[in-house]
């Protein structure tokens, strides 16, 4: 049975997220983008309302949403500013691996702390020498008698500066490649962790991205999530879900650009009539709308797959590059429709276009996602409809 109608609970949650975006995010979105402001007050409020950690089950203090609802809410939260929306969303990626690989005790300890009062988290995978090629990871987890000692550095870590909990990936043996990677839950106040440069970015400016350094950071056995060598698998599991998340984010970016462009097409007059009367503009809007319909249907479908425990690695990789390429095209076309007015700094579509670019790069570049998808197709991992 295929049913796209939302339940009354889902509608209410969607309304909450929309309301939140409109009242809390929209009024500051352009200013925060201009100044690269850390949206702390908004994050705290989101936490208060239960919009953070929607992935964490109720027994650990989260709201335990199913994936479909989670992604519907994510789209709404990212409509007015995807940088702020994803500062809320990063909490789900970072806690994901702990949720999938952690023991009951670890989940209670690490996740319970995140939900009981406002605490944020980050996902530390990328390194200067290990982006798409996670197997080239250099951050070392050296085994000791009662735990591990971590040395190394991470870069481009979303919310790295302000996180209370780090989901850290490090290797016990570099010669093992991805099979040597381990996942650790690391409280930020563990001695030896320091934050480096806060990056100045083209878009996603209210999203803080930093370097993080680890110098003789001592961890106990209880910080290891899953078995040794399971880290890469846990990282990918979290990323599968994160990629569907990106699709919902991109649907929001595209929807916002579409709303701006279609309003403009109705109002802007040239040659004595609204420019929307011209076929050239109509075709662009039609193409944009088709892409929005497609990306939304894709994330709903994959959310449903995740809810059914159907593995969707190939599909999430395909959807990720499709939705992010769509967001890039849609925002570029929206700037085109608004013309000079859309290209000026401080306008909504100009921001959206800068924001969209990052989506093609993060959580796996679109090239690596095409590789994941292509390999999966050849090894017959795609779903049968």
């Amino acid at each position: 049975m295929i049913d796209f109608s939302l339940t009354s609970d889902q509608k209410r949650l969607l309304e909450l997220a929309r309301d939140f975006s409109e009242k809390e995010i929209r009024p500051v979105a352009l200013e925060y983008d201009r100044d690269g402001t850390y949206p702390e007050a908004i994050l705290k409020k989101a936490h208060e309302l239960g919009l953070m950690y929607t992935n964490i089950p109720e027994e650990y203090g989260g709201s335990g949403m199913d994936y479909v609802t989670h992604y519907v809410v994510t789209e709404a939260l990212n409509y007015d500013c995807c940088a702020i929306g994803q500062m809320i969303g990063i909490s789900h990626l970072s806690t994901g691996a702990i949720l999938f690989g952690g023991t009951e005790e670890q989940k209670k300890k690490f996740l319970g702390r995140m939900t009981e009062s406002y605490r944020s988290s980050c996902y530390c995978l990328t390194e200067p020498g290990a982006g798409s090629d996670a197997g080239a990871m250099r951050t070392m987890a050296k085994k000791t008698s009662d735990g591990y000692v971590i040395n190394g550095s991470k870069c481009y870590i979303t919310n790295g500066r302000d996180s209370d909990l780090l989901c850290l990936f490090a290797t016990t043996d570099r010669t093992l490649g991805t099979k040597g990677i381990c996942c650790f839950a690391v409280p930020r106040d563990t001695p030896g962790i320091s934050v480096g440069r806060v990056e100045d970015k083209m878009g996603h400016r209210a999203l803080t991205v930093t370097e993080i350094f680890f110098e003789n950071v001592e961890l106990g056995r209880e910080n290891l999530i899953g078995e040794e060598g399971q880290g890469f698998k846990l990282a990918m599991m979290a990323l599968d879900r994160g990629r569907v998340n990106i699709m919902a984010v991109c649907t929001a970016i595209a929807q916002k650009a579409f709303d701006e462009a279609s309003n403009w097409a109705r109002e802007r007059e040239q040659f004595g009539q609204p420019i929307g009367n011209f076929q050239a503009i109509q075709f662009m809007l039609a193409d944009i709308y088709a892409l929005i319909l497609a990306t939304r249907a894709m994330y709903l479908h994959m959310g449903w797959m995740l809810d059914q425990n159907i593995r969707c690695t190939v599909e999430a990789a395909s959807g990720k590059f499709f939705a992010t390429d769509a967001a890039m095209k849609v925002t570029t076309d929206a700037v085109q429709i608004l013309g000079g007015s859309g290209y000026m700094k401080g306008t909504v579509v100009e921001k959206l276009m800068r924001d969209a670019k990052l989506t093609q790069i993060f959580e796996g570049t679109n090239q690596i996602n095409r590789m994941v998808s292509g390999r999966g197709i050849l090894s017959k991992q795609c779903i049968q409809f």
Partner: protein, 264 residues
């Protein structure tokens, strides 16, 4: 402190209202129904009193089944119980019949304060609050922007704006207050609140449950009949003030405001 909030479901204020072919009602298809904004102030105030004094907040509403959704919204915000008076015979009731039915549902409840919106934003009658107070025989304060319940929870002071001044009135409890914009800033329904709302007690009552005569309510029981609904007049074209200097333009504007628009 037990507080009752009367809630009306109304069309979202952003809805484009269309008059139905009968000329006496509106087209209800495609309307987004929401909680009357004045009632949201009531819910918020009730929740604040509950936080301060303890007790329960009960939401009472009257209308078709769809009103359940608005009651659930109030429950998601933090109210404890919902009661919906729903009966086909109530269709088309006027304000007086509505107040009678509400009074019948409320009279046996244990309450210290009742909030109603000062009016519904749909038909702007502003009658239910006053009538309900009368039927329940409790003091009533209308159009209130500030509520102060005494520390002992036995009396209430209410602030009402009057021509730029404030009138402060006091009464023993129980009492009924009709809410005005400015009373508070209603909270969001939180996500856990939304999840919990469906597990909260919710009751539906019919006219028979309340011991009311179907002939005295609904379309047939109306004391006030709606004769006609007319759309607001179309806005005329704007006027551009001509003149060489700002002084000339200002003088012309003043003249037009006085003679044509008659605003002073």
């Amino acid at each position: 402190m037990n507080v009752i909030v009367c809630l009306k479901q109304v069309p979202d204020t952003e809805t484009q209202i269309k008059i139905a072919p009968d000329g006496k009602s509106i087209v209800t298809d495609d309307i987004k129904w929401v909680m009357n904004p004045y009632d949201e102030y009531g819910v918020e105030e009730a929740l604040r009193l509950k936080e301060k004094f303890g007790g329960e907040v009960t939401v009472v509403s009257l209308g078709p089944k769809r009103v359940t959704e608005s009651i659930r919204t109030a429950l998601a915000m933090g109210a404890d119980k919902g009661i919906l008076i729903s009966d086909d015979a109530l269709e088309g009731s006027d304000s007086l019949a509505t107040a009678k039915a509400l009074a019948a549902a409320i009279k046996d409840l244990d309450y210290d304060l009742i909030f109603t919106g000062q009016r519904g934003v749909d038909d702007d009658m502003g009658v239910v609050g006053a009538s309900l107070a009368e039927f329940l025989d409790v003091p009533q304060f209308s159009v209130i922007v500030k509520v102060e319940v005494a520390e002992d929870g036995k009396s209430v002071k209410a602030h009402r704006p009057v021509e730029g001044q404030v009138l402060v009135v006091e009464s023993s409890l129980p009492a009924l207050i009709t809410t005005q914009k400015g009373l508070n800033e209603p909270r969001y329904a939180t996500l856990p609140g939304i999840m919990k709302a469906k597990k909260k007690p919710f009751e539906e009552k019919t006219l028979a449950d309340l011991g009311l005569d179907p002939a005295k309510v609904g379309e047939g029981g109306r004391k006030v009949k709606i004769l006609e609904l007319t759309p607001p007049p179309k806005r005329g074209e704007g006027k551009i003030i001509e003149g060489e200097t700002p002084q000339e333009k200002a003088a012309e504007l003043a003249k037009l405001l006085h003679e044509e628009a008659k605003v002073f």
